[in-house]
Amino acid sequence: MNALDQSILTLILLVPLAGAILVALLPDRAKVPNWLALAVTLASFALTLHLPAHFVTGRQGFQFEIDRTWIADPLISYHLGVDRLSLWLVVLTGLLGPVGVLASWNAITARRKIFYSLFLVQQTAMYGVFVSLDLMVYYGFWELSLVPMAILIAMYGRKNGPKAALKFFLFTFIPSAPLLVAILWLYAKAHTFDLVNLQNYLAADPLPARALFWVALAFLVAFAVKVPVFPLHGWLGDAFSEAPVAMAMVIAGKLGLYSLLRFHVELFPAQARHIAPLMMALAVIGVLYGACLALVQRDFWKLLAFGAVSHFSLVVLAIYGLTLMGWNGAVYQILSLGIVEGAVFVLLGALDMRYATSQIAAYGGLAARLPRTASYFVIASLTMVGLPLLSGFIGEFVILSSTFAQVSRGWAVAAAVGVILSAAYMLSLVQRLFYGPESTMAATRPAPDLRFAELAALTPLVVLMLVMGVAPTYWFRTMERGSQATQASEVNGATQTPVPVHVSVRTEGQP
């Protein structure tokens, strides 16, 4: 433990925030905000890399912890830390920072100051969600993450920005009201907001089951909306269509999925087990429903939104399978989806910026004119549909095989159908956009291929898709014991014996 380990998480939180203030203060001249935002996001990405470099694999509990009293009464502590679950999510957020800036490099031309400072605030909020171990601090960052997102959707929306922003904010803000009630109720009972203390407190099972059911449900619903889990996905389509690329790539998925895992399944294991069959059913419905709707979309943002519902639902299935292997697959798939969705967003954003339409029918035969765009898009699509040797395959494979072997064959088969459907809609999208006869729009409107900034954003993502597809063990090594340790501590109270608890867990899930 060196000195940096103590303060690294605080630094990660503060660097983007300080950058936001700096961007807001400096003049909006030339590309000053762009360069500054790029420098800040690169710096914070470099800081996040400190975490995996100094992470001690196999140690119990949280690392890089800092725990200071923030407010004495009620006791809210500035308690941060990462474990194997959140480690890579922090790094992913760091990576998507510079990617987002580069993706907006040419897309955002007006009022860059507001855009980049809010973008940096958003970065801080997302880091905060992943590293907070105090429920109130967590809640703070959770809510904070809504604000820059809503403002940026309203200001930079393509057509109906304000409407989409309102919908997004209300959809995600209203369920967080019951979440706050639940947190306050737990505090009134347990007198702590600290995640670890609360976990130990709840493990002793001191509260009536009926009340806990509602508390756990409040947590669950707030997160499920953010994922989004079927049938709470109503906001996603509009948000995807309107949000600027840099924001859209972080709007869905990882925040909600991580929160489900950390603050629902780990905090309320009994309640999670209880509700797991329902969640798995909803997840499978989501996988199939999202994929079927994606098949018939005419607008590529909408297609991507329903595809995302389908993909994220698969992760939900893995989380509520309640098996170690499934959880590893879930975390891996969140990472992979973060990267792939990021790349697809950058590419579709590039098309939308060049041709000013998201109607798939208007495109066609672009591969000849935009060869680089086409090849990057093909790689990203193949990753998304789960081609072996690319990162998407590993996640999906682990999730499906663990579900098949340890949870339920029926659900696994149904979800696999959804995965096949995803190949159908993604590949048909590739075909309709880039191949086939050249459309009149593509023929009459000459557009430049990917620019340097876009290439700089995409290349690391594509490289990662390959590396994560070929050498997944590097990631699994750090994650695996993570899930095991947390589950062991959750089932056996605070004891540290790593026992193969998934044997007992998996029978619960079997129908």
Binding site: W70, I71, A72, D73, P74, R111, I114, M136, Y139, G140, F141, E143, L144, L146, V147, A150, I151, A154, M155, G161, P162, A165, L166, F169, L170, F173, I174, A177, P178, L180, V181, L184, W185, Y187, A188, K189
Partner: protein, 508 residues
């Protein structure tokens, strides 16, 4: 320890009164053609001095003066500082936005300062007749201020409506005071607190409590006593509304805390359910009505009713927790609401050429600074973390939750669902401000002067400070709560240990 001179106990009020009188005299002796803007500066300096005097009162031993009629304690200092801060911000906003040629400028500033005298005295008074006088001082000033734009139709309408309904409500308060005097034979709050539990005239005291609650709840514009609010806010000049929606409310909430927690804590089983109902009504009525407003000031008027409801939720908390939460909320609400009205004043101007929500379209492009500030204050009003509004709601609702009664939990759930509704209309304004400007000639870009800039800086700073480091303010509110709970003996300037532990409330 030498006894504290009585005058020290009301030093801030004395300073404010002298400032007001000075303003009237200067105004009268100036030639009509002379500029009077600097009178506002004098008023601001006087208010700042009063603020320092309030802080200086912390060094006094806690106790009462003037034959047990006024008190200085951490509680009174907390509210004095809050009210002086509000008045200062309202003065600074007025300095830059009142037109140079407006009539009776001297009186305008003097009335604001006299209003401040009343509000400060209201929080310090521990004798019901002084309470009544203080309430009248503050009310009469604000009645006149509400109708300051007398050339418009709405100005006098607002003033008359406010005056008639206000006097009606004050009459209820006075009636309550009379009844309680009849029941206990005294109007001193501590003596009433001692006598009330053993009084034979229990029914009379309960009736008195009900009457007094009507009077006070009118002042804080809680439903169902809220009908005057939207019309008055719409008609009064925006800087006055900034003051009106926070200053007298803070003072009235201080009085309410004093009445229920200090004077009649033994009637907890009577006032707690009443306030519960009023809190739920205020939140729900305020928010639902605000949803449908097109006029920004009317919308904020209804939202202020809802905020009164959130604040009243704190009264479901037991003892110290509830008092501290209510005090903190009053401060947080004041900072963000005055801020919102300051921006509105700047945008729509003294003449209010831009009263509707749609008029704010494109504000963030037209005037980026004001647009961002408006969005910031709205976000705080929604109650997003890291702003004062969040911790206000947080403390208020956790106070309600701390009782762990089913009523408390229900109240919190209703309250938080209401904040969801509230988010819709605040966001509507924020989103309109962030939307691209409409076609047609853009309205003139508002100018931000030095004085109003200072006010905005103060308000933004306070809102952020309360949202990021709420500890200090909460600590102050808690010490205030303890002094309110610890009965001060009737003797003059009895030294009271500041670390008195409060005795827990005993509900019958």
């Amino acid at each position: 320890m030498t006894p504290v001179p009585d005058i020290d106990r009301i030093l801030p009020e004395v300073i404010l009164t002298l400032t007001g009188v000075l303003l009237m005299l200067i105004d009268a002796s100036l030639k009509p053609a002379r500029k009077r803007r600097w009178l506002g500066g004098v008023a601001a300096i006087g208010t700042t001095l009063a603020l320092w005097a309030s802080l200086w009162q912390l060094s006094l031993p806690e106790g009462t003066g003037f034959f047990g009629t006024v008190e200085t304690s951490t509680f009174t200092v907390f509210f004095h500082v809050l009210i002086c801060g509000i008045v200062l911000a309202a003065l600074l906003v007025s300095l830059d936005t009142l037109p140079a040629n407006s009539h009776h400028q001297g009186e305008y500033y003097a009335l604001i300062v006299f209003g401040a005298v009343g509000m400060c005295l209201l929080t310090a008074a521990v004798e019901l007749l002084v309470v009544f006088i203080a309430l009248e001082i503050s009310s009469i000033s604000t009645y006149i201020l509400a109708g300051y734009r007398k050339q418009t139709g709405r100005g006098p309408e607002a003033a008359i409506k406010y005056f008639l309904l206000g006097s009606f409500a004050t009459a209820f308060l006075l009636y309550g005071i009379a009844l309680i005097f009849g029941a206990t034979g005294t109007t001193q709050i501590y003596e009433i607190a001692n006598l009330a539990p053993t009084s034979e005239n229990h029914a009379l005291i309960v009736a008195a409590l009900a009457m007094m609650l009507v009077g006070i709840l009118f002042k804080v514009s809680a439903a169902p006593f809220h009908v005057w609010t939207p019309d008055v806010y719409e008609g009064a000049p925006s800087p006055v509304v900034a003051l009106l929606s926070t200053g007298p409310k803070a003072a009235a909430f201080a009085l309410l805390l004093r009445v229920v927690y200090e004077m009649l804590p033994t009637l907890h089983s009577y006032w707690a359910p009443l306030l519960w109902v009023v809190a739920v009504l205020s939140m729900t009525v305020g928010n639902l009505a605000a949803l449908r407003q097109q006029n920004v000031k009317r919308m904020l008027a209804y939202s202020s009713i809802a905020h009164a409801g959130y604040l009243l939720a704190a009264f479901a908390g037991i003892g110290n927790v509830g008092i501290a939460a209510a005090s903190f909320y009053a401060a947080a609400y004041a900072a963000m609401n005055v801020g919102a009205f300051a921006v509105i004043t700047l945008v729509s101007g003294y003449d209010e050429k831009l009263p509707l929500i749609d008029d704010y379209r494109g504000l963030i492009y037209r005037a980026p600074l004001l647009g961002i500030l408006l969005v910031f204050f709205l976000i705080s009003l929604i109650g997003v973390p890291f702003t004062g509004g969040f911790f206000g709601k947080f403390y208020s609702f956790s106070a309600a939750m701390s009782s762990l009664s089913s009523g408390g939990v229900t109240l919190v759930i209703i309250g938080l669902l209401n904040s969801g509704i509230a988010a819709a209309y605040y966001l509507r304004l924020a989103v309109v401000a962030a939307s691209p400007a409409a076609e047609g000639p853009a309205p003139a870009k508002p100018e931000v002067g030095i004085a109003v800039g200072a006010a905005l800086l103060l308000l933004v700073g306070t809102t952020l400070w309360l949202g990021i480091r709420p500890g200090a303010a909460l600590h102050a509110a808690q010490s205030g709560a303890r002094t309110l709970q610890a009965p001060v003996s009737g003797g003059e300037s009895a030294p009271i240990s500041p670390i008195l532990q409060a005795t827990p409330q005993t509900a019958p």
